[in-house]
C-alpha cells in the first residue's frame, strides 16, 4: 500500500534458509536448487529471473509447498509452507491458464472459494468482484475456450486472487502474451498488488517486465540453481508507461541485464 518505493514494511513474509532440491531421475541426480537463502518482506513484489532450467519454477513450488525441498526450511508468515498452504495463504497462477472448460469463467474463479466452503451467494459475489478487477465482467458466463489467451490468463489471475491470498505465486503468467496485452496486464497486476498489499513472487524471462513490476529482482544462476544477485529496484510507484521511458528505468534495466549476462556467460562477465 506504500505510495513511494514499496517494501518499506519490515516484517518478513517469506523466509527461505538453506533450501536445496535434488531431483532423482533415471539419468542421475539433478540439483535444481543449491543452498538458497532468501528473505522476502511483507508486501514486496519480487521477480525471479534467470536462464532456463536454473530452478525458478522449482523455487516457486518450494515456497508454495508443491515441491518438498531436500534440505532447508521455508517459513511463510511465521509458519511452515505446508501450514500456509493448508490455511490457504497462497494464490497461484502458472504459465498455462489451466482453466476448466466444463465451468464458466465465473465458476472457474469461484473454484478456490468452493474448495474453501464459501457459500454460493458470497462465492459468486467475490468472483464477480475479481472479474471486475481484471475487467472481464461481461465474460462471466462464457466458457474459457471462448476467450483469447490473454483473457484466459486474466481469468487465471482472478482465480488466484479470489481467496485474497497473503502470498501470490506466479510462474510466467504473462509469458505467452503479445507485447501490448502483456504491458496492459503488467499495469493491472501492479494496480491489484497495490490495492491488496499481498506479497508477490513472480517468475519471468523478461528483464523489462521484472524491472517494471518489482521492488526487487532476484537473478538466479543455473547448475546448480543458486541466487546470483539481488537487485532492489528503487523506482517510485505508481509506475506507468512513462516510467519505462525514464533514464532511471533504463539504468535499472541495464543493471539487471548485466547481472543476467554475467550468469549466462561467466567468462565474459562485465563486458
Amino acid at each position: 500500500m506504500s505510495t513511494s518505493t514499496a517494501s518499506t514494511s519490515t516484517s518478513t513474509a517469506i523466509h527461505l534458509a538453506g533450501i536445496s532440491k535434488t531431483f532423482s531421475t533415471s539419468s542421475g541426480d539433478v540439483v535444481a536448487l543449491d543452498d538458497i537463502d532468501l528473505d522476502i518482506p511483507q508486501g514486496a513484489f519480487v521477480s525471479l529471473l534467470g536462464p532456463s532450467g536454473c530452478g525458478k519454477s522449482t523455487l516457486l513450488r518450494v515456497i508454495g509447498d508443491l515441491v518438498t525441498p531436500t534440505a532447508g526450511t521455508v517459513q511463510v508468515a511465521g509458519t511452515s509452507a505446508a501450514e500456509a498452504r493448508r490455511t490457504r495463504q497462497y494464490g497461484m497462477a502458472f504459465q498455462a491458464p489451466g482453466l476448466m472448460d466444463w465451468r464458466t469463467v465465473r465458476r472457474n474463479v469461484e473454484l478456490p472459494l468452493q474448495v474453501q466452503g464459501v457459500g454460493r451467494a458470497e462465492r459468486r459475489q467475490r468472483a464477480d468482484e475479481m472479474l471486475e478487477l481484471v475487467k472481464l465482467t461481461q465474460f462471466a458466463d462464457h466458457r474459457p475456450r471462448q476467450l483469447s489467451g490473454g483473457m484466459q490468463q486474466r481469468v487465471a489471475i482472478a482465480r488466484a486472487l479470489a481467496m485474497q491470498p497473503r502470498v501470490l505465486l506466479m510462474d510466467e503468467p504473462l509469458g505467452a502474451l503479445d507485447e501490448m496485452n502483456r504491458e496492459h496486464l503488467q499495469r493491472e497486476l501492479l494496480r491489484i498488488w497495490r490495492a491488496t498489499g499481498t506479497t508477490v513472487v513472480f517468475v519471468t524471462h523478461s528483464i523489462p517486465e521484472a524491472v517494471f513490476l518489482s521492488t526487487e529482482v532476484v537473478v538466479m544462476s543455473p547448475r546448480p540453481g543458486r541466487i546470483a544477485s539481488r537487485i532492489p529496484v528503487d523506482l517510485p510507484y505508481p509506475r506507468t508507461d512513462e516510467t519505462r521511458l525514464t533514464d532511471e528505468f533504463q539504468a535499472a534495466e541495464r543493471h539487471v541485464r548485466e547481472r543476467l549476462h554475467a550468469v549466462l556467460e561467466p567468462s565474459t562477465a562485465g563486458l
Binding site: G64, L66, R85, R86, T87, R88, Y90, M92, F94, A96, P97, G98, M100, D101, W102, L111, P112, Q114, V115, Q116, K135, L136, Q138, F139, H142, R143, P144, R145, Q146, L147, S148, G149, G150, M151, Q152, Q153, M163, A176, L177, D178, M180, N181, H184
Partner: protein, 315 residues
Amino acid sequence: MAAIRTAPRPSATAAPQAAPPSPARARRGRPQHLGRVLRDLGTAALVIAAALLAWEGYKALGQATGDLVPLTSVPLPVATDDAAMPHVWQVLAALAGPASTASDQTLLAYYLQQTSVTLREAAYGLALGAVVGVLLALLMRQLPWLGRASMPWLVVSQTIPLVALAPIVVVWIGGAGFPSWVAVTVISAYLAFFPVTLNTATGLLSADATHVELMRSVAASPLQTLLLVRVPAAVPSFFTGLRLAATASVVGAVVGELSAGAGLGIGRAILTAAYYYSLAPANLYAAVLVASLAGVVFVQVIALAERLVLSKREN
C-alpha cells in the same frame, strides 16, 4: 471432443477493454444436432440398401451358377435356395403376415413387442452396469492397490464365455425366487459394466496435471479433487464406455433370454424361430432383422444422449 485447450491464443488487438468473442466461436445450437441425426440416418439407410443389394446379388449369383463360384466347380460357402437364404421380400412378407395361425397380430408387431421387453432388460442392465462400472472405476482410482489387484479378475470375468456363464446366473437368480427378466438384466449388466469401468478409470487418470496441482495449491481434500477435477475430466471417456456398454447390454439381454428359456423377449422369439426354421425360414431372418435394427436404435439413443450432455457442458 471436450479437449481442454490450454494453448494460449493471444488476441490480435491490444484491447485493454475486452473485445467480444468472434462469431467463429459462437455456440453450436440444436439445428446442428438435428442435421447430424439426419445425416446419420441417411448413412444408415445407405448401409441397409447396400446390404440388401449384396444379399440379393449373392442369391441371384448362386441361383444362376447352381451354388458354384462362377467358372469354377468350387461351391459357394452358403447355399442360396429359399430355405437357406429367403428373398428380402419373403422376409418382409413374413413380417407383414400373422404372428401365428391363430393370431390377428402381425409378426412385426409381435417381434416389436418382444423387442421392447428385451430393450427394457437391456436398459436396466445398462443402467446397473453403468452404476457398477463407475463405482468400480472410482474405487480403483482412490485405492490403486485395489485397482491393480482386481484388474486381472475383471479381465477374466469378460473372457469367460457368456453362454457358459448365463445358465449359471439364471439358475442362481431363479433359485432366489426372482422372475427371469431379473436374471437377464444381471447378465446384460455383467457385459455392460466392463467398458464403463475401463473407460471411466482411464478418464479419471486423464485429469490435467495443472488442474490437480491447482487443487493442491488451495488445499483441496482428495474427495474435492476427485469430484471437482477428476470426475468432470472423466465424463467424455465415461460416455465412450457407455456407448460400448450399450451394444454389450443388448447382446447380453438377448443371450440372457436364450439361456433363461422361459419368459418373453426377442431372444426367446429368435430361439422359437430357429426351432421352426425348416417350416418358416423367413421368420428367423425377420426376428434377427428386428433385433439388429432395435439394437442400432438403442445404441443411437445413448450416442445422442452423449452428444447432448457433452455439448451442453461445452457451451
